[in-house]
């Protein structure tokens, strides 16, 4: 073990965060204020998610971290190592093997189970923030369910772009009550939020926690004549050939060549292991770089 208390935070802090999480689960979509701590990483790097994970992890958990769907980016690797060191928990890159998954900007492609917890890193928890700068006013709007302004934003999108151009952090209404920011996940992931797993959202800088209990009703806001559409690049993954996953566009050179690949690296790798090959892919080899 290490000289750190289990999962870095002291027990009192974890209890405080757990109380906020429980309150959040009791009032789905409601932003619960909590006393966010200084973490050994800058704000904007997932301090909220890390604190929620720290309060959620037990020694028996298996932990996975993804950043934009990938297990191997700086943010994901650093946070995974952080908990390996401070909590000594087992870590994995396999979605189905993890019991707690911390994520930045994606929901894994594999459907989550009831025994899994998804922890989101949230930069700005207030969906009304860019429309109404006053926190006093936005809290009042939430408490009085005055959400007309949210549709003004979508109206502006259609007026300017001919369609709802908001493609990530697409606002949702939870259980017919609170309008919630789903963190900057692509709107492709919005329908997945009605899932079996527990979803916890932590915003460290803004000091807010909110949550969705399992099988919670989550409706993406839209207009009758411009219904919500979960869009993705109209392409198949060039590595594994998947047509149902969210894709990253990768520029290959300065001659206009590009490829589309799954943003969920675990999903892509497991498909390639199973023998699927995309248009520009090569058959899977164990330990290939």
């Amino acid at each position: 073990m290490s000289d750190y208390n289990f999962a870095y935070l002291d027990e009192q802090t974890k209890r405080m965060i757990r109380r906020a999480i429980l309150k959040g689960l009791a009032i789905p979509g409601y932003q619960v204020p909590f006393a966010s701590r200084e973490m050994p990483m800058p704000y904007g790097w997932g301090t909220g998610g890390v604190q929620v994970s720290a309060a959620t992890l037990t020694p028996d958990d298996t932990f996975k971290v993804i950043d934009q769907g990938a297990d191997d980016t700086t943010n994901a690797v650093s946070i995974r190592k952080f908990f390996e060191k401070t909590a000594g928990v087992a870590t994995t890159e396999e979605t189905s093997a993890a019991s707690v998954i911390q994520t930045r900007h994606r929901i894994p492609e594999d459907e989550l189970r009831e025994d899994q917890i998804l922890v989101y890193q949230v930069p700005i928890p207030e969906p009304l923030r860019f429309l109404e700068p006053s926190e006093v006013e936005t809290r009042k709007m939430h408490s009085l369910e005055e959400y007309g302004l949210m549709h003004v934003k979508l109206y502006e999108d259609i007026a300017k772009h001919g369609a709802i151009a908001t493609s990530y952090a697409y606002p949702v209404k939870v259980e017919g009550r609170y309008v919630m920011d789903p963190s900057p996940i692509p709107k492709f992931d919005n329908p997945k939020m009605e899932m079996a797993g527990i979803q916890l959202f932590g915003a460290g800088r803004e000091q807010r926690i909110y949550a969705l209990p399992p099988y919670c009703q989550v409706v993406s806001l839209d207009f009758d004549d411009f219904p919500f559409e979960a869009s993705k690049a109209d392409h198949a993954c060039d590595m594994c050939g998947a047509t149902d996953s969210y894709l990253d566009e990768v520029i290959m050179d300065d001659a206009g060549n590009r490829m589309f690949v799954c943003s969920d690296t675990d999903y892509c790798a497991s498909r390639r292991k199973a023998g699927h090959v995309g248009a520009q892919g090569t058959p899977f080899e164990e330990d290939a770089a």
């Binding site: 109206y155 007026a159 009758d224 004549d225």
Partner: protein, 256 residues
């Protein structure tokens, strides 16, 4: 006929200072009431008390709800009062930027109240917005422009369209023509007069401009140091002022 609004003994103090004291009046459907007085006379304080932005220390503001019941808006719950101010009430600010969302298009500004009361069909909201822009003489092609690109007079007309789109029954106006040049003022007043007549609106207009009330108001209330010093029909008060202060006010108007 029953009054639309009954104001009884409204007093508002700022510490020991008087904002306004013991104001009483009834406003009937279709009637336009002017409130005049110099700066600091309490007319804006009174208007803000009536519109629910300030809570008066004493008194009642009873408003006839759509079901005919008279309700005291001072003691009603905040959600109810805010619902009123989105539907049955309208508030036209002196400075258009207080009443508009400057970073939202003209169409979005007009549509906001519709969406706030549940409209969820983009095509209908937009059609309604275009219709209302037409009524306040803003051309359809400006529907996607932001108010920052509008002139002062256009901003004020946009603010009026945004307020009237849900068909309110009572409009509060705080110096609606303040800061506009005279020709723009004249067109705005013409427009307001037309809309008030056409929609049968009741309105309370606070201004220090006696020409505005002579054009728009049926009845006039003169305030001085937080008290109402004279009330009556507009023409009667302006042509035959009784109170010394009203006489001073009327005689202070510059003649061209």
């Amino acid at each position: 006929m029953t009054p639309l609004l009954q104001v009884q003994n409204i007093s508002k103090f700022y510490g020991h200072r008087i904002g306004c004291q013991d104001v009483n009046f009834d406003l009937y459907p279709g009637e336009v009431m002017g409130i005049v007085g110099e700066s600091g006379s309490g007319k804006s304080t009174l208007l803000n008390c009536l519109a629910g932005f300030l809570t008066p220390e004493t008194g009642e503001v009873r408003f006839e709800m759509r079901d005919g019941e008279m309700r005291d808006t001072v003691t009603m719950s905040e959600p109810e009062r805010r619902m009123l101010s989105r539907t049955d009430w309208a508030f036209v600010h002196q400075h258009a930027r207080d009443g508009l969302r400057m970073n939202v298009s003209a169409g979005g500004n007009v549509g906001e109240r519709l969406m706030a009361v549940g409209a969820r069909h983009y095509g209908n909201i937009r059609a309604e917005a275009v219709d209302w822009l037409g009524r306040v003489e803003i051309s359809e092609e400006r529907v996607d422009d932001r108010p920052t690109q509008f002139s002062g007079g256009m901003q004020q007309r946009l603010q009026i369209a945004r307020n009237l789109v849900t068909g309110p029954r009572l409009v509060f106006m705080d110096e609606p023509t303040g800061g506009l040049d005279v020709s723009v003022q004249a067109r705005l007043l013409d427009l307001l007069r037309g809309l008030v007549r056409e929609m049968g609106l009741s309105a309370i207009i606070v201004t220090h401009d006696l020409a505005v009330v002579r054009l728009l108001a049926d009845r006039l209330m003169v305030m001085k140091d937080g008290h109402v010093v004279e009330t009556g029909l507009t023409d009667q008060v302006l042509d035959d002022p009784q109170h010394a202060y009203t006489q001073l006010l009327v005689s202070s108007v510059l003649q061209v």
